[in-house]
């Protein structure tokens, strides 16, 4: 009985301020869209029916990539295709362009924005299908019952909810130590990417710190990691138009054959992009090589708790970590 949108009022604000006013005015009944690629699914399935839809895609202020000296600033409504093709980003942060290029399909990347990509909701098929689970305000996690199908679900931090982050750019931004600029009624705050994403323990109904009325305006990536070595890989069922089962994003600096600094994060294993700090720790100051690869493989998935059908993600994480290390040689 779905595949059909409800009717709503569509607003096309002319400025961020106006968008913020509208978002504030409508509160829970309002919904921001940029590319709409995540939102329209919700609307068509009729599981979310906001009264006011506020389209920010046309806001020039929020669009484009700029070199600001010590960092590169990406406007929130910059499309994934624009990011993929951007020379400045390709030169400084090929990790991000590689991740953006792996999102969905060219059509979706042409419309989907970076802001929407990091703010998108989880893809747990029970939740998306409208089941009244914890995340939807109910009192069960349907994906974690004895009969549940949970091959796509979480290995970590599954507190009443086993959903995972679906974003491909998320782990890359966490690895790159990006900062998220959020505006609320004219007030600006800055949140590190790692804190931007939140797990069920913090708030089970949200995936990010964004609350109704917040607008993500910009993503800043410090030049710290410009020119570093990088590795991105995404494992999915098909090679296009599909979410990651597990993805890995790494940036590393090598001096004299030794790893001087490194950050690694995985997507698809937890509600937020998961930093692999144990892998980072064992790499730092050590020689790149077979031994490091072996150790990374062993510790990458430390502490993972498999559900009924996602055991395979554990060796997969280990092997991806080993591959990331291998790429440095």
């Amino acid at each position: 009985m779905t595949d059909y949108m409800h009717s709503f009022d569509l607003f096309e604000p002319a400025s961020v301020e106006e968008a913020a006013q509208l978002a504030d005015k409508y509160g829970k009944d309002g919904w921001i869209i940029a590319g709409g690629k995540d939102s329209f699914d919700w609307f068509k399935d009729r599981h979310k029916r906001p009264q006011a839809v506020i389209n920010i895609a046309g806001l020039k202020q929020l669009h484009g990539v700029k070199d600001n000296g010590d960092h590169v600033a990406i406007g929130a409504v910059t499309t994934l295709t624009e990011i993929e093709d951007n020379k400045l980003l390709q030169k400084n942060f090929p990790l991000l362009t590689a991740a953006a290029a792996k999102v969905a399909s060219p059509q979706i990347r042409n419309a989907g924005t970076i802001g929407g990509n990091v703010s998108q909701d989880t893809r747990c098929s029970y939740y998306r299908d409208g089941f009244p689970c914890y995340r939807a305000g109910g009192n069960t996690c349907y994906a974690n019952t004895p009969t549940a199908m949970n091959r796509e679900h979480a290995l970590y931090d599954a507190i009443r909810c086993v959903a995972v982050t679906p974003s491909d750019t998320g782990p890359a931004l966490v690895a790159l130590e990006a900062e998220m600029i959020i505006s609320r009624k004219g007030k600006i705050r800055t949140v590190p990417a790692e804190k931007f994403f939140i797990g069920p323990a913090v708030d089970i109904t949200r995936m990010t710190v964004l609350e109704k009325g917040d607008i993500l305006t910009e993503i800043r990536i410090p030049k710290k990691w410009s020119g570093a070595k990088h590795y991105f890989e995404k494992i999915a069922d098909r090679q296009t138009w599909d979410f990651a089962l597990v993805s890995i994003a790494m940036v590393a600096k090598i001096t004299g054959g030794k790893v001087s600094d490194v950050r690694v994060a995985c997507g698809g294993v937890q509600c937020t992009p998961r930093r692999l700090t144990t892998v980072e720790d064992l790499m730092k100051g050590e020689n790149v090589g077979a031994e490091m690869e072996r150790l990374a493989k062993r510790v990458a998935a430390q502490g993972a708790k498999a559900l009924n059908y996602n055991h395979f993600k554990i060796p997969l994480m280990g092997n991806l970590a080993a591959r990331a290390v291998r790429s440095l040689t």
Binding site: M1, Y4, R128, Y142, Q239, F312, L316, L320, R323
Partner: protein, 823 residues
């Protein structure tokens, strides 16, 4: 001759064809309209005063309907009418033995998505909102989710009929001497194999528009593969004379078997159009198409085969367990098909087939491309790969050494035609450099071989009758235009083009001289529809006959006019002329004028009924065909041992097509089959979620959407090299066999076999998700059996086997097989 085609631009015609048009690539007759958007699909139709209809579908898997409350829906502005089960009380179903469906559920719903009520409104928006507002109160019943559950829980029954409890159909057929066969074996192999269910995924969603006319008369335009069967079902359900109902099959945007049943929505719009006296239209959403389903049955199989040292088979015992979903659909036939075509490729003297189909509370399964055959074919071909390994014989060799001979009769009494399987195997082995590369590629890379065989039209119609299975009428007049009428349904496979080109070939005219009128039960003679790969064979024969009759009539008139012998006349280049002197003759349209003047108004008919099959046992009706197509494929894979992710790099596929009527169209069918086959091998699965009991036990789709139902994209497609093998079968029109379904069959087992060659892991199930390969690799690393697949086969009581006497001259050509007595 094997000709390798990689793309339509390749030189596809190696030697000069025997025909003027046939055998040379030509633009499909509906091609231009399709690419320019001129084709009107059912959903493109609009009529004045039309109302829009939506179905209210069950939200629970199994329940009694207690109460339906329309008050909220009816109070909406624009809502015009509602319909419930008792408005259409007569049951229907594609097979006469399982007429178990109602247009709208009478008192019981049997799966999530089962239609309960309908609403008609002035706009689609209102109809949608009203359908959502209908409140249905259910009293829930226990839910059956699988074959095993159906076996264990005979009560309550999902249907009041069927062989026992919740088992819909049981079959046990013994051919030859099973015990003796196994005794004479040097090696006995057993395998338990699982094939997950999947769906057709045609791009066009089903749509139907009903237009009332005068009193008690209605036309239903529908995206259906089988207008004739829809006509029959409507007659029954609407309780109207057949002559009052007209069904028009609009061009289908793909069918693959998903539009070959009569459907609820067709009955509902017809009823509403009649009741309201205004046109009524319905277009299903993608979600609803997943509920209509009729797709591939999930089948668990157990295979036990005796082999001699040389690789020949001495006996085979195959058991199948089909999860049928909530209704009969084609299920009885599907059950037989999980055993019927097991004998058509390699010699199998003694064969015991047992099959059973269960009812479960899921959308009904039915025919999907290959109908019931891909599952046991997958089992057989991976089984043979293991036997080859065990016996130390090359898998290609093992197959080539044991091919079923041409013109023979199989253990289950199927009569073979030409068999080009040897050429198919040789072509793909040569193309893939099998001999040099199989078993010798570096770890991680592998080649796999598998074969298949399929019907060229089911021998028997769906309902018993003595009438032709296909009819064609030709009308000719002084304009020179030749109008061809036939009940066939174009579903994208190119049936219109085949029909047109055969007539054009015989009459020596161009495709542009032909006007087609197809798939219209009022205007065209009956053809049973686009299923079982029957159209080229049956419509082709009927068209050939009608065209030859037209040619002979015209020849007679021209001969008299020119005072030359009719036998010496040639029809070519839009002219009719004498073979001895092409100058003596006239244009085709002049020839028609001469004939019309001599004989009066011109028209001819042609029809086709397949030959009787030699089998005389109960169940012998499933499997016979005028002849069979053959395919072989080699698949090359590259497996990443760290992730289990594998890429299919190249597929070489050979297909015995008899004669390629249009090589480019045939190539499209082969490539489409490879694509669909890879989807089934690698990722496609129609799976269901069962919720815990305290949460109603609801059994629902894992998101009925195109995103969640994973089907490959462009990036997943490998390079394909196709070889069309022409064996020119005299049983077929112009020698042409089918190409729509057969080429799918070898793909899934070839992928599994290639993975084994690459990393030594056996995955005895499809789809083969990367994590299964990874699991196999982990087992292998631990020194355990590197096999991933289903465990035990359940204990099914298939009943006393029907012992079918052995064919006296089995394995040998039967000279006059038509003369075998019928009891």
């Amino acid at each position: 001759m094997a000709r390798a085609i990689k793309s339509p631009s390749d030189e596809v015609v190696a030697e000069k064809s025997r025909y003027r048009l046939i055998g040379t690539p030509f633009r499909r007759v509906d091609g231009r309209a399709k690419v320019t958007g001129d084709t009107r699909f059912a959903d493109d139709l609009r009529f004045p005063r039309m109302v829009y209809v939506k179905l209210v579908r069950s939200t629970v898997p199994h329940a009694k309907i207690k109460h339906i409350d329309f008050s909220a829906a009816e109070s909406m502005t624009g809502v015009i009418d509602t319909l419930v089960g008792k408005d259409l009380p007569d049951p229907f179903g594609i097979l006469p033995v399982s007429e178990d469906e109602h247009a709208l559920a009478i008192d019981t719903v049997r799966f999530v998505g089962d239609p309960v009520a309908a609403v008609a409104a002035l706009t689609e928006d209102v109809a949608h909102a009203a359908a959502l507002a209908v409140q249905v109160e259910y009293e829930e019943l226990p839910t059956i989710s699988s074959f095993n559950e159906a076996l264990k829980i005979p009560e309550p029954r999902i249907h009041e009929y069927g062989d026992e409890g919740n088992l819909h159909k049981k079959v046990s057929l013994q051919f030859g001497d099973i015990a003796e066969g196994f005794e004479s074996a040097d090696l006995v192999l057993e395998d338990t194999v699982y094939y997950e269910g999947n769906t057709h995924l045609a791009i066009e969603q089903h749509a139907a528009v009903a237009v009332p006319e005068g009193e008690d008369r209605v036309t239903v335009y529908s995206s259906t593969q089988t207008p004739h069967y829809v006509h029959r079902a409507l007659t029954k359900v609407l309780d109207l004379e057949p002559s009052r109902i007209r069904v028009v099959s609009c061009s289908n945007g793909g069918g693959f078997g998903g539009k070959s049943d009569p459907f609820n929505h067709e009955m509902v719009v017809a009823k509403l159009a009649l009741r309201l006296g205004r046109p009524a239209k319905i277009t299903l959403s993608r979600e609803e198409v997943f509920y209509c389903h009729r797709g591939r049955h999930p089948v668990l199989m157990h295979l036990r085969t005796g082999f001699r040292k040389d690789g020949s088979m001495t006996a085979q015992h195959l058991r199948t367990a089909l999860d049928g979903g909530a209704f009969g659909s084609y299920g009885v036939a599907s059950t037989y098909y999980t055993g019927a075509l097991q004998t058509t490729t390699y010699q199998l003297p003694n064969y015991w087939f047992e099959g059973a189909r269960a009812f479960t509370n899921k959308p009904p399964c039915g025919p999907k491309r290959g109908h019931g055959t891909p599952q046991p074919r997958f089992a057989l071909e991976i089984h043979l790969d293991k036997a080859a390994k065990e016996l130390g014989i090359d898998p290609a060799e093992l197959r080539l050494n044991n091919l079923q001979p041409e013109n023979s009769v199989t253990a289950n009494w199927l009569k073979m035609g030409t068999i080009g399987l040897d050429q198919c195997i040789e072509a793909v082995c040569k193309g893939s450099r099998w001999k040099e590369r199989y078993g010798k590629l570096p770890e991680g890379k592998g080649l796999g071989l598998a074969c298949g065989s399929y019907l060229c039209g089911a021998g028997l119609p769906i309902y018993w009758n003595h009438m032709p299975q296909s009819g064609v009428q030709i009308k000719l007049d002084r304009s020179g235009c030749v109008a061809v009428f036939c009940g066939e349904a174009e579903i994208g496979q190119g049936s219109d083009s085949v029909l047109a080109v055969i007539v054009a070939e015989v009459l020596g005219i161009d495709l542009a001289d032909i006007r087609l009128c197809v798939g219209d039960t009022d205007l065209t003679p009956v053809d049973l529809g686009s299923y079982s790969s029957r159209v080229t064979m049956m419509v082709g024969h009927a068209a050939l006959q009608a065209a030859e009759r037209a040619r002979d009539t015209i020849a007679k008139a021209v001969a008299e006019h020119l005072q030359v012998p009719a036998e010496g006349l040639v029809f070519a280049d839009r002219r009719v002329f004498t073979a001895s002197d092409p100058e003596i003759g006239m244009s085709f349209s002049e020839a028609v004028v001469v004939a019309e003047a001599l004989f009066g108004t011109l028209g001819t008919t042609g029809s086709y009924t397949p030959p009787r099959a030699p089998g005389r046992y109960r169940g012998a009706g499933v499997g016979p065909s005028p002849t069979y197509s053959y395919s072989a494929a080699v698949v090359e894979v590259e497996v990443d041992p760290e992730t289990g992710v594998y890429d299919v790099n190249h597929v070489w596929i050979g297909h015995d097509i008899g004669t390629a009527i249009n090589p480019v169209l045939a190539l499209g069918q082969v490539e489409g089959s490879v694509y669909m086959g890879l989807g089934e091998a690698m990722m496609e699965e129609q799976v269901f979620r069962r919720l815990p009991k305290r949460l109603s036990s609801a059994l629902v789709h894992k998101m009925p959407s195109l995103l969640e139902y994973k089907s490959p994209g462009f990036h997943d497609m490998p390079e394909i090299t196709t070889y069309l093998i022409e064996t020119d079968d005299e049983r077929a029109p112009m020698g042409a066999k089918e190409v729509g379904q057969g080429p799918l069959l070898p793909i899934m087992p070839a992928v599994a076999n290639a993975i084994f060659d690459a990393v030594g892991v056996r995955v005895d199930q499809v789809p083969i998700h990367p994590e299964l390969v990874l699991k196999g690799l982990q087992e292998k690393a631990k020194g355990r059996l590197p096999r991933v697949g289903p465990g035990r086969f359940p204990d099914v009581d298939y009943g006393e086997p029907l012992v079918v006497p052995k064919q006296l001259c089995a394995q040998h050509p039967v000279v006059n097989w038509l003369a075998v007595d019928r009891d």
